[in-house]
């Protein structure tokens, strides 16, 4: 399978501490891969490094055949969308749901341009895809957590990405909202043939969506698993590592 993401021996350091300690990973085109592990294991840092939000001190990252560098970053970011964890904003923030989704089209228009009709149509189509068109003109800060995450997913999808990077998309959501986001992500991946990388603490959620799951610990990839074996593999690894300690 042709790889969409190729991570080679990547090291990322914060204050001299290695958040990623030589991670290598390959994600095939159209594949949905989960990143699973305890807090501080480097899952989100890996996602942020692939999106170019943090710079590796060593190693290289290739996305869709292009090596990630300041020169290629703009092109690569046009091809991928990043959905962060639940964003805390002031309930009175003057921005509507539609304006948030339009941000996802920024890469297509760029500096000194206004959003065109096709941008607005794409944003509305993305809202429809996540069943949130009726929320378009509502202030974003007034929406419930689940609604805000659906809008964030619409923002990610509005740019017609080939790659989707999701960082804890269902964290701090109730069970019903979690289920809804999972189904929407699955449907979008299938419909658009997206390559997707999902960070989550929720084994059940990852098992439901992903083709395979990477287990991380202390900035390293320690095990690769499949949905049906994730809980067992995770338990076995940590039982083993506790025994070593």
């Amino acid at each position: 399978m042709q790889s969409a993401i190729q991570v080679n021996e990547v090291v990322v350091e914060y204050d001299g501490r290695k958040a990623l300690a030589g991670v290598s990973l390959s994600v095939g085109r159209g594949e949905t891969v989960g990143l699973f592990g305890p807090n501080g294991s480097g899952k989100s840092t890996l996602l942020r490094a692939i999106h170019g939000l943090v710079l590796p001190s060593y190693g290289s990252i290739e996305v869709l055949g292009e090596k990630l560098s300041p020169r290629t970053l703009r092109f690569i970011r046009k091809q991928m969308a990043y959905m962060p964890q639940f964003i805390q904003i002031d309930q009175r923030m003057p921005i509507s749901a539609l304006e948030v989704v339009l941000m996802g089209r920024y890469g297509h228009s760029g500096l000194f341009h206004r959003y065109s009709h096709s941008d607005k149509n794409a944003a509305r189509a993305a809202l429809e895809q996540v069943d949130a068109l009726h929320l378009a003109n509502r202030p974003f800060g007034q929406l419930s957590g689940g609604e805000q995450q659906r809008i964030s997913l619409a923002r990610a999808l509005a740019g017609s990405p080939r790659l989707l990077l999701l960082d804890e998309p269902t964290a701090s959501l109730d069970w019903r909202s979690q289920q809804r986001i999972e189904k929407l992500v699955q449907a979008a991946c299938k419909l658009q043939g997206l390559t997707t990388l999902i960070v989550s603490h929720d084994a059940e959620s990852l098992a439901a969506i992903c083709d395979r799951i990477i287990i991380m610990d202390s900035g390293r990839i320690v095990k690769e698993s499949i949905p049906s074996r994730l809980s067992e593999d995770y338990r076995n690894y940590f039982r083993g590592s506790e025994a070593v300690k």
Binding site: R92, P94, I95, S96, L111
Partner: protein
């Protein structure tokens, strides 16, 4: 009081200065209030004051040195916050205390009476010169133009700086641009409003507008409107009642904020649940 005063040159200049400062400062205020960087005005205005004092102490042009002071503070704030492992609030605290220390030191170096120096602290809209008005007009036009051109980018940065960056918006450049525009607006308003009071003209009209709308474009327009209203009403009240103009402008802007907060539709919407429950049972 004779209405002939309205035809006097100094009154025309004062009205023009109040109009232009009333536009430039609240526009910056919208960014400051929505990004929760309220301390930024205090911080940069004290750096501008220190710059003006340096000009007076060493025989330079105080407006030019104030501009240099405010730009140094504005351009220092971003990197300190971004690279120095500090939050923006801590970075602003460092720049603020350094500016305050430099101001006291420079004040002691100015020989003779300190009237001109203190004028930069309190400001006087009635003594502004044509040169001050041209500077204010240039800055107000520049800030308005930049906001119109980069509205989408500004909106993205206000919403979430990292997400804006992830969407391809040059969020860091926009953030630094905001800091520099704050420095320019504060310096240009220094003679008219004063380093001490300009902070209120940045925050109050923008905070009042924030109470009334969920639309960022409307918020910019409302903030500028409240700024102009504060400037002109303050100028009129101070002339009629023979009170210090800068102080009356600021108190007028505070009154506008209080009225906006009292009648805010957002306030009604966000009444705590326990209050709603108790009002339902009554």
């Amino acid at each position: 009081m004779s209405w002939d005063i309205l035809h006097d040159e100094f009154m025309k200049n004062a009205a023009a200065a109040a109009l232009l400062a009333g536009i430039a400062c609240p526009l910056i205020g919208v960014l400051v209030v929505t990004m929760r960087l309220s301390f930024i005005g205090v911080c940069i205005s004290h750096a501008a004051f220190a710059g003006a004092l340096a000009g007076l102490a060493f025989g330079g042009n105080p407006t030019l040195t104030a501009l240099i002071g405010s730009l140094i503070a504005a351009t220092a704030l971003g990197p300190i916050a971004d690279k120095g492992d500090f939050t923006p609030d801590t970075a602003m605290g460092i720049v603020f205390s350094s500016s305050l220390g430099a101001s006291f030191l420079l004040l002691s170096l100015i020989p003779g009476p300190k009237t001109e120096a203190l004028g930069f602290l309190w400001g006087n809209v009635l003594t502004v010169t044509r040169g001050n008005i041209y500077l204010l007009a240039g800055v107000a036009a520049l800030v308005t133009l930049l906001i119109a051109i980069f509205f989408r980018e500004i909106q993205g940065v206000i919403f979430n700086r990292e997400l804006a960056l992830a969407s391809g918006i040059p969020a860091t450049a926009i953030f630094y641009g905001l800091l520099i525009c704050s420095g320019l607006s504060i310096t240009a308003s220094l003679n008219a409003i004063g380093g001490m009071l300009v902070f209120s003209l940045i925050i109050n009209p923008a905070a009042a507008a924030y109470q009334l709308t969920y639309d960022l474009k409307k918020m910019f327009v409302l903030a500028a409107g409240f700024g102009i209203l504060s400037g002109w009403a303050g100028l009129a009240f101070s002339t009629v009642l023979n009170l210090p103009t800068g102080a009356v402008i600021i108190l007028t802007s505070s009154a506008i904020f209080l009225i906006a907060a009292l009648f805010s539709p957002k306030k009604r919407r966000f009444r705590p649940e326990y209050e709603l429950e108790s009002s339902n049972t009554n």
